[in-house]
Amino acid sequence: MGTMRVQPGRLGSLGSRPATGTWHDFDLQLAFYALGLTVVGLLMAYTSSGGAPLEAGSIFTRGLMWLAIAIVMFTVAASIDYRWLKTLAWPVYLVNLSLLVLTLIVGSGVGGVSRWVTIGPLQFQFSELAKILMAVVLANYLASRQGKMKSLATTVGAFLLMMPALALVLIQPDLGTSLVFGAILFGSLFLSGAGLRWLLIAAAGVVAMVPIAWTYVLVDYQKRRLISFLDPAADPQNSGYQLIQSQIAVGSGGLFGKGLTNGSQTQLDYLPVSATDFVGATLAEELGFVGGVVLLLLFAALLWRILVVGWRSRDPFGLAFAAGIASMLLFQLMVNLGMVLGIMPVTGIPLPFVTHGGASLTSYAVGLGILQSIAMRQGRPAW
């Protein structure tokens, strides 16, 4: 039984290397769930376009454009044999860090932060791409530590690898995204089999860091945002306002919602950043509990498929990478929807696929493309 069966003539396998990958093993479910979430995102872009969704430059048309780009990037990433990434891991790492440094130098953002780099008409948030790239770098590192997974050195090494990127994002300052790096780190280590002892100690260390970070790292507005969810009414005009309005939007949606483009909270601008960070509230208001459950199920299914890809991977790189992407997706889902539903602090973390924004969508497209590449190049598992 060969690990890579030859599948001639199927769906344009990559020519001269029939053994390296096959579209036969393309994980349709993975693509389908992701596409489903993206369509939900497009619906939200449509409703957020202020009554003129088809005009050039509207959120909806830009969403369509980004979707096209994302599909291309997904296809390209799936086509390329992911094993090249191992060779390229260190250059990727360096490029990644330099993009983050570049963001700090020339980036722009609201209120003195540096998050976006503007290239021509486009704004790009490199920290989104960095999440995927760091998952690649980390997976490559963990694959190289086979046999030594449980050692302290592996865990410490992974932390050291992750720290520069995490720190560069944190000083933008973008606390939310830097926490996503943490999630990738822990998730990859955990599923790859790192020593539980070390992980627990590391987790304890992170918890111990909280008071220190609170005092020395966090800026005032971050602190205010972080605690306002505990009592939004205490500061209803500022950070609490978003939370209150978001919960009103969600709650008033009821079972079936008010209908697309009919949400008063969204359409009358009571809900801030309704197309981006609080897109979940828009969805819940206009599509109701039913829409919200569909969204959650799509995410659950997608996460499940990512785990399956990881499980099936005969390559520790694939497992670690799938673990990283799944952790990142789960963390973002939890923090973003948790914020929308008023059970998590306000952090500027987008809801993957649904939040309007090219950087997040194309980065995830690349991530899922790599996962497809992994799925297609494992052959049928023996079990």
Binding site: R17, S192, I248, A249, V250, S264, Y270, P316, L319, L333
Partner: protein
């Protein structure tokens, strides 16, 4: 098989318990989020739906169109014209941008930065409501401000009705004007629902009939966005009730005649102020009320600048004050009506009684001179009133005493507000022993009683009280409230309310006594105390007055005002059967009482009589012009 380019890695050690744990974490997160979604949307859905509705639906007042004002023959004295107003919602104007916005507005609106800042801060308590910045803004400026709305956050241009007074200063004191509400207005009118950027009647009938003119504001439901801007109307909960209109008692023709007459004399003499009024003694209706100098109330309706307002306040003539009701001035000899009536009614004299007049009367070392410094010999009441002899009335006043004199004065309405429906009316000063004890801790001295008997000394009243006293004389003893509004008209012109004559009281004076006084007033004219007034083809009765005030000049002379107060019988034309008009004035059917007052006149003759004469000539369309310019020479002549 091995890959061609890559080493096949070792199969990883798959830790299924960790995958299970991870899957459970996913399930836990999704379930938690789903449960929370369920709580918010299904369990508390109704509650949040209510909050969302409260967010987007705002109750908004519907402004009612303000009622109009007409004169008694239906001439429209005020228009509601659509104008552009610039308003500010302070909450929408970031503090950092304030200086720039204020500077730009100051340039565009040609206002001072101080006025604009004041407008922004006027409604500090209601930063989310609109506040007036400028009204009556020219269209081109309004359009520029609209264009620049991005640079002018919190500034809005709205079209709203504004008062326009086509007759300008002719009826300014009667009409008054509307203006932006002040915090004081808002506090005072609490429950009436005035808005921050509302207008309110400030002066004249615009102020006294504010509630009628304003109507009732309605309420509508509108959908608003997060910035508070209206998206669409949902429904009207309570429609606005347009304000009712006023039909004034004023006749614009009579008003214009009165103004023409007064202005003529003022221009010739260089008077600082003057008053002409005409009223119907049968009903108390004011036909004309002119106080000069006046002001253009349109300036206020458009929103007067602080500088212009200060200039008006500083003008010596006091153009903002309605001198007819708001000034304290000594009534002079017109007051002899009170003294004469009191003497007759209290039996101090009859129309047969002859009193000896002299150059002066003495009290101790003080001499109280008759006006001609010679006396007129023996006189009865007709001659005494006609000649306006001081020593004649000193004797009656001395017999009456100050308190009795005050009683008769109050019978004629002196010392009490007439109650006319205009703001700013004063009571006047009616001296009594009590009054002086309270004020100066000493009684009235006998000499002061003499002074009071001829309307000098402490006595001072607004001109309307003098007119009202002569109206009561003319109508046979009914002291009426002077009326300024005749009817209230609904929005479609239907009569909602008619103002009936309002009796203050009947004078406690016999008809005979009043008839004697009317005849005496006619004697004033026929004796030519009023020069050629007697030559008019109509019968006029009245009394002149010269009232000293102020401080003596270097020749020891006091400046003085001139008065004329009188009436014309209903059928005023002279008849051969009644050559002296005595029968005519014996009747009580007069429909015209008239008053002229020339402040600080110092003319050779009585300027007020000339003004009244000119007014009557025009009012009755007489084909004669008996005005005598020489009378209006400035000469500081002691004519009485």
């Amino acid at each position: 098989m091995k890959g061609v380019f890559f080493d096949e890695p070792a199969r990883p050690a798959r830790l299924w318990p960790r995958f299970v744990i991870f899957a459970l974490i996913i399930a836990l997160v999704v379930a938690t989020l789903g449960l929370r979604l369920f709580t918010l949307q299904i369990v508390s859905g109704g509650y949040y739906a209510g909050l969302a509705r409260e967010n987007r639906i705002r109750l908004q007042p519907l402004r009612a169109p303000r009622g109009l004002i007409f004169d008694r023959s239906g001439r429209q004295l005020v228009n509601n014209v659509a104008t552009f107003a610039v308003k500010a919602r302070p909450a929408d104007l970031p503090f950092s941008q304030r200086p720039a916005v204020i500077e730009r507005l100051a340039t565009l609106l040609d206002m001072s930065a101080v006025d604009i800042t004041e407008a922004f801060d006027r409604a500090a308590a209601n930063r989310f409501e609109l506040a007036n910045v400028a009204r009556g803004v020219p269209e081109e400026v309004a359009l520029i401000i609209r264009e620049e709305h991005l640079e002018l956050p919190g500034i809005e241009v709205v079209v709203e009705p504004q008062r326009e007074y086509p007759y300008g200063d002719l009826v300014a004191h009667v009409l008054g004007f509307t203006g932006a509400v002040t915090p004081d207005d808002l506090a005072r009118s609490g429950s009436l629902g005035y808005l921050n950027d509302d207008t309110i009647g400030k002066q004249g009938v615009e102020a006294t009939f504010e509630e009628i003119l304003r109507g009732e504001y309605g309420v509508e439901q509108v959908e608003v966005d997060a910035r508070g801007e209206e998206i669409r109307q949902l429904r009207t909960l309570q429609p606005a009730q347009p304000g009712d209109s006023l039909e004034l008692t004023i006749d614009v023709d009579a008003q214009r005649d009165a103004e023409t007459a007064l202005r003529w004399a003022m221009d010739r003499v260089g008077l600082e102020r003057g008053v002409v009024m005409a009223m119907n003694p049968q009903t108390g209706e004011i036909l004309a009320m002119v106080s000069l100098p006046a002001y253009d109330n349109n300036a206020f309706a458009e929103g007067i600048s602080a500088v212009e307002y200060q200039e008006l306040l500083n003008e010596p003539g006091g153009p903002l004050r309605n001198h007819a009701i708001a000034d304290h001035v000594p009534p002079g000899s017109t007051y002899k009506l009170v003294t004469g009536t009191g003497g007759l009614q209290d039996g101090i004299l009859t129309d047969k009684t002859i009193l000896q007049t002299r150059p002066y009367l003495s009290i101790g070392p003080y001499k109280y001179w008759d006006w001609n410094r010679q006396g007129f010999g023996p006189l009865n009441i007709y001659e005494g009133f006609g000649r306006s002899s001081g020593t004649f009335f000193f004797q009656i006043a001395g017999e009456l005493g100050i308190d009795r004199l005050a009683y008769w004065a109050s019978q004629f309405g002196f010392g009490e507000r007439t109650g006319i429906d205009l703001p700013g009316e004063v009571r006047g000063v009616l001296p009594t022993n009590d009054w002086k004890m309270r004020l100066m801790n000493e009684p009235i001295y006998p000499g002061e009683v003499y002074q009071a008997g001829i309307g000098q000394g402490y006595d001072s009243f607004p001109p309307i009280q003098v007119l009202n006293a002569y109206a009561a004389l003319a109508n046979g003893g009914k002291l009426l409230k002077p009326q300024i509004v005749r009817r209230i008209l609904g929005p479609d012109g239907e009569v909602v309310d008619e103002v009936e004559p309002e009796l203050i009281h009947e004078l406690a004076v016999d008809d005979d006594v009043l008839r004697i006084m009317r005849r005496a007033a006619r004697r004033v004219v026929t004796i030519r105390q009023t020069y050629n007034l007697v030559d008019l083809p109509i019968v006029v009765a009245g009394k002149t007055g010269t009232a000293e005030f102020g401080v003596r000049d270097d020749k020891g002379r006091l400046p003085y005002h001139s008065w004329f107060a009188g009436f014309v019988p209903k059928d005023p034309w002279k008849r051969d059967s009644d050559p002296n008009g005595v029968e005519a004035v014996s009747r009580t059917d007069s429909e015209l009482a008239v008053l002229a007052f020339a402040y600080d006149s110092r003319t050779t003759g009585n300027a007020a009589t000339e003004i009244a004469k000119y007014f009557l000539q025009m009012h009755y369309d007489l084909d004669v012009d008996l005005r005598q310019d020489w009378i209006l020479e400035r000469d500081n002549f002691y004519g009485q």
